[in-house]
Symmetry: C2
Subunit: 202 residues, 2 copies
């Protein structure tokens, strides 16, 4: 039934190396600024070898972007309309902070694609993302109408969460330059807890 051959040991290994290396390079230099040579060198392969596994530079980039988008919306999807509102929102903030701490390169890949004008994910933005944000905005608005949280603009609340959490990944270089050797995340988590608790408490 399935005509697709399973991936060999070497394919698994090398595709993984390439995607790992590519994530480094694309997240730093964006699509146009990255080169196949950079990625190949970082992956420990020759360029033709790399191109044995992926048909083109674009194919690598698209694979990374699609993987990223598959998971990037999950934290917001988990916001439960039946849960306690402040807990649910704070849970979302925590999930996003965990992602910024654990997947900074993915965050920067996304930031880079957005800075480029989002040429490859425009449909995702106006489609799935918009729908999800619309949906969760209704939930947040309803929570306010039930007196469970303060009156906030749901859209700008969600943008705030993105802005504040992703900043620690995207502007990591700047944050660490200012803070010196100190890990930013513990203080950031406390600070964001404070911001959103005060903001949302009715």
């Amino acid at each position: 039934m399935s005509d697709i051959k399973p991936r060999t040991r070497i394919q698994e290994r090398n595709r993984g190396s390439i995607l790992e290396a590519a994530l480094d390079v694309f997240s730093q230099y964006g699509f146009r600024g990255a080169t196949l040579d950079m990625i190949a060198e970082s992956a420990g392969l020759s360029k033709p070898n790399l191109l044995y596994y992926f048909t083109s530079k674009e194919a690598i980039y698209i694979e990374l972007l699609e993987t990223l988008l598959d998971t990037w919306l999950d934290p917001l999807r988990e916001l439960d309309p039946e849960g306690k509102p402040i807990d649910e929102i704070m849970g979302y903030v925590r999930r996003k902070m965990d992602m910024s701490r654990d997947f900074p390169r993915e965050s920067r890949l996304f930031a880079n694609e957005i800075l480029q004008g989002a040429p490859r994910i425009q449909q995702d933005l106006t489609g799935d993302l918009r729908k999800l944000v619309d949906e969760k905005s209704k939930v947040i608005r309803k929570w306010h109408e039930e007196g469970k949280i303060a009156d906030v603009d749901p859209y700008h609340l969600i943008f705030s969460i993105w802005a504040l959490t992703q900043h620690y990944a995207d502007f990591d270089v700047q944050v660490r330059a200012v803070l010196g050797d100190k890990d930013p995340f513990p203080g950031a988590n406390r600070h964001l807890e404070q911001i959103f608790t005060k903001l949302l408490t009715p």
Copy 2:
């Protein structure tokens, strides 16, 4: 005394066109992803003509970055230790929002340089920026000790202001994809006013 020749009418015009075009291209694609041909075309000049005015791609980029950094810290410098704390901080937020609205490309140029690891402004980050943030953090801490504002982490407060204000410039494509045709800034300004007023009120 001064050996420097004044710039001619044509030099002023063409340097301006080049810098304007370069800001467009560098803010979208970063240094590596931008090309002299793109900039020249956007400026309405030939590439050798462009290079008559600037010695290299790097020289154009550095000029833009230096101009940017000259003004980027001004809003924070204006924070007056003798003023009313919440007014002063809200003033800073407003100045930053005005910048995001009026100079989105500059914000994106900065974001792009940071994503690249800030190779050309590392000294600015660990030098002037750090000093200024340290200085204003002391002011904020003192305001709290005098009971004028709530207890907040001054560093993360400043990062929050950066994150929330710059987001509207840097992720403009995403914000507008979600909001549709609606101008994000009025709602954003109200929302940020709410966030910081609640956060800071003792």
